[in-house]
């Protein structure tokens, strides 16, 4: 009897709010990472770029929790500062690709006809290039650093957002409530931007969250290739790049720490994104 009652209580009743553990853990992890990035100058034990040839490749110790790298820099401090570029880049890309994608998607979905057809072909063209390739081309044209890849990847990711927005808006457009607004005398632009867009935005937003993980991994990859954030600045991708030579000598920690940081953040963001889009689903939340 008692077991049965306990079982009933722990079951998730549909419609009752409450996120599961993996979601909560992911949210806490992201919050910690963000806090770490913001307060890095205060909480980091060392200057991330302080070279110390006296203590090269040290293992974890009380003075250096995660050890030191080939130049004797404190890995923990570098990881904390590295979180700044590692998180800021994807954030900028997600925000700007979402804004761009939503605008184009609403335009295509609401207007339909030739506007839709032209935009659809345009998206196909962008889709046909891997986003990393576009980012590398941007670096080739505008030089190394974070700015060019961020802009390039915002453009590369916009079609994903636009295509989702387009299909949502196109189906929303035929709903009776839109016809009701028209009959009341509202203009098409008002209905599209003030009423339909807010209705589809949560779904698009949840999907965009998923992009954050991909972008983070790709930007880290770009820095790893030496095309993104430049040494000696601390960045997770650049840190892995610099640590390559050490791997041969059996010094795994300088590469492993930033790599694990990338994995943790990507997994956490994906769990949150999946959960959000599952919850919001294809339905308009009310």
């Amino acid at each position: 009897m008692t077991t049965a009652t306990i079982e009933l209580k722990t079951r998730r009743v549909p419609g009752v709010a409450g996120f599961d553990t993996s979601f909560m853990v992911s949210a806490i992890v992201l919050l910690l990472m963000t806090g770490m990035a913001i307060f890095a100058p205060i909480i980091a034990p060392y200057d991330p770029n302080q070279v110390n040839f006296m203590s090269v490749y040290q293992g974890p110790s009380i003075s250096h929790w995660l050890g030191t790298d080939s130049l004797g820099r404190d890995i923990l401090s570098r990881m904390m500062f590295g979180a700044r570029t590692a998180l800021l880049g994807p954030l900028l890309v997600v925000v700007s690709s979402t804004v761009l994608g939503i605008l184009l998607g609403v335009l295509a979905g609401w207007r339909g006809g030739w506007v839709d057809a032209v935009l659809a072909r345009l998206f196909d063209v962008v889709f046909s290039f891997p986003s990393l390739l576009i980012a590398i081309m941007a670096v080739a044209l505008f030089g190394k650093g974070l700015v060019a890849p961020v802009i390039a990847m915002s453009i590369a990711y916009a079609p994903y957002v636009a295509r989702l927005t387009r299909s949502l808006v196109a189906s929303e457009r035929h709903r009776p409530y839109v016809a009701a607004y028209r009959v009341q005398g509202f203009s098409g632009a008002w209905i599209a931007l003030r009423r339909v867009l807010p209705n589809v935005a949560p779904i698009v937003g949840a999907q965009s969250t998923l992009n954050f993980g991909y972008v983070l991994a790709e930007l880290a990859g770009l820095s790893f290739l030496g095309l993104g954030v430049q040494a000696p600045a601390a960045d997770w991708g650049a840190m892995i790049n610099e640590a390559q030579s050490g791997l041969v000598g059996g010094h795994f920690l300088p590469a492993l720490v930033p790599a694990i940081a990338v994995v943790i953040v990507v997994v956490a963001v994906n769990i949150i994104g999946e959960e959000l889009s599952d919850r919001i689903g294809g339905e308009i939340p009310s």
Binding site: L8, Y177, A179, A180, V183, P198, P285, S286
Partner: protein, 548 residues
């Protein structure tokens, strides 16, 4: 022994909600038993429990004896045997219950081969026989056809044939004709009655339509909120209801039968015929309006052709027709959602044929005509509260301050029988009837010359429908509003409109005073439509007696 014997059936959800509360009912062989009630009364749940189709994680109590076996406690394999041989079910939406990728033949022979282990050729023969028995026109050819080639009515016959192929002793019909037109409904019902008679089956028929239950059933059970509130012979229950709920339901159900000295609407509602000379033009004048839709590779479909009609100021005109008759297209043309190919629309003396383009045109058109849509669940923006949606409309059309418009919103809500507290509710929190009231208030906020109601009550339960129709009648009395009422339901038209137009395939086939049209239809189609409306079996008996 009875074929089906349900005693004290209860159904509980783990969160403590009791869905069914002590249901007892019986069905004997050869008997048609009706289960009537409004949405959420538990009638479908009761019927589904007979086949062991219970909601997930629910716990059932009591007994459901089907052919002597208790469905609730029996093993899964015995339950399968019961479903295969003792009882089968016909559902509301035939299209949802059939695999669109497979042929009708596949659908019908599959059961036979699986349950009766018939070889392919025999199964095919039986399938053809079954289709002939439900009066499908070309059984041989149908075998190779796909569901999308069938109309709703034909597909429902296929589903009935499929349900009957296992020769069940009990046939459960869950609103099998609700999605269909009246004339199609009449055909399906006659097929069902014929099969029940020839096979001596018991039939459990679930419906929300009291007239249909009265025309078909020997005995009925009336359900409300998970309980049986009344039972008895159909005639007793409907002509002399005992329970309060049944009384309300019977009173709310519109009928097309015209009683003694009864007018279509209370006398005070009938407008004082052509009022003043200046109004002679009428609130709505439609002259030879046409609209066709081009379908790629096919000849264009004429949705509306050469339609002319007129409503005097303060009048109410009903447009009746089955699906595909063009009545909704006509409504969309009038409110400016579609553009006409030819003809003209004049509302309150102003030309309103073309859909509005510029801001001034849009606003002027909106003040001429407003519309209440069919489905209140879809016609309100899910994110916007009731009050806000009315306020939006108000502030677009007037220069009211926010406090003044708020006061006006509450006044409008009050007019449709809602209160201030409904203003802050999102549509999700409102019931179907409340939503439709909000939609009406929103339309009235603009103070239009004409209100178009496109099947505005067909998605609602009868008692709610009656309330909404009452609201419309009140507003007409108070404001002298002109109403164009579009519906498939003749009985509703009779309650609301003094004049009625019958449409078929985009054309008006008959036009006249509602009462005259119902009592002395001139066109064959109108007559067919009226005859198809279900009416209590005893009324027919009396009519036959009188005739002889």
């Amino acid at each position: 022994m009875n074929l089906l014997e349900i005693t004290e059936l209860t159904l509980d959800l783990p969160n403590g909600v009791r869905l069914l509360d002590g249901i007892s009912l019986t069905v004997a062989a050869g008997e048609t038993v009706g289960l009537v009630g409004e949405s959420g009364s538990g009638k479908s749940l009761t019927a589904r429990s007979v086949l062991g189709l219970l909601p997930e994680r629910s716990t059932a109590g009591g007994k459901v004896l089907l052919d002597g076996t208790d469905v609730i406690t029996t093993s899964p394999s015995e339950l399968l045997a019961l479903r295969r041989h003792s009882a089968s079910m016909v559902f509301q939406d035939p299209r949802a219950g059939i695999n669109p990728m497979r042929t009708i033949g596949d659908h019908l022979t599959e059961t036979l081969r699986l349950c009766e282990h018939l070889p392919a050729d025999q199964a095919k023969e039986r399938a053809i026989e079954m289709m002939a028995s439900v009066r499908l026109p070309r059984p041989e050819a149908h075998l190779r056809q796909y569901p999308h080639e069938f109309s709703g009515g034909m597909l429902q016959r296929v589903m009935i044939a499929g349900a009957l192929s296992s020769s069940p002793k009990l046939l459960i019909c869950d609103e099998p004709t609700t999605a269909l037109d009246v004339t199609t409904q009449a055909e399906i019902i006659s097929v069902l009655t014929e099969q029940r008679k020839s096979r001596g089956m018991g039939m459990l028929f679930i419906t929300h339509d009291l007239n249909l239950a009265a025309s078909l059933c020997d005995r009925v059970y009336v359900m409300s909120a998970g309980r049986v509130v009344e039972q008895g012979s159909a005639r007793e229950v409907f002509s002399d209801p005992q329970a309060d709920y049944t009384k309300k339901l019977v009173a709310a159900t519109p009928t097309i039968l015209v009683g003694d000295a009864e007018a279509a609407v209370p006398a005070e509602l009938v407008p004082l015929a052509p009022a003043e000379p200046e109004d002679a033009s009428g609130a709505l004048v439609v002259r030879s309006l046409s609209k066709s839709y081009a379908i790629r590779g096919k000849t264009p479909v004429r949705a509306v052709s050469e339609v002319s009609l007129e409503i005097p100021r303060g009048g109410a005109l009903g447009i009746v027709g089955e699906s595909g008759s063009g009545k909704s297209t006509l409504a969309r043309l009038i409110v400016g959602l579609e553009s006409a190919d030819a003809g003209e629309i004049v509302i309150a003396g102003k030309e309103r044929t073309a859909p509005p383009r510029k801001r001034q045109e849009r606003l002027a058109h909106a003040r001429s005509v407003q519309m209440v849509f069919q489905d209140p669940y879809l016609s309100l923006d899910p994110r916007i509260t009731a009050g806000k949606s009315i306020e939006d409309a108000l502030r677009l059309h007037s220069k009211l301050t926010s406090t003044a418009s708020r006061a006006k919103v509450i006044e409008l809500l009050d007019q449709v029988g809602l209160t201030e507290k409904h203003a802050d509710a999102r549509p999700r929190k409102l019931s179907g009837g409340q939503r439709q009231r909000v939609a009406i208030a929103r339309a009235l906020a603009i103070e239009p010359d004409l209100l178009v109601m496109d099947e505005a009550t067909s998605a609602l339960d009868v008692s709610v429908q009656a309330q909404v129709l009452e609201v419309v009648a009140d507003i007409r009395r108070e404001r002298g509003l002109t109403v164009l009422f579009i519906t498939h339901d003749l009985a509703v038209v009779r309650r609301v409109c003094e004049e009625t137009v019958v449409m078929k395939q985009g054309e008006i086939v008959e036009h006249g005073k509602t009462l005259e049209l119902l009592t002395q239809p001139r066109h064959d189609y109108t007559r067919h439509l009226i005859e198809s409306v279900p009416r209590p079996a005893w009324d027919l008996d009396e009519a036959i007696e009188e005739a002889s």
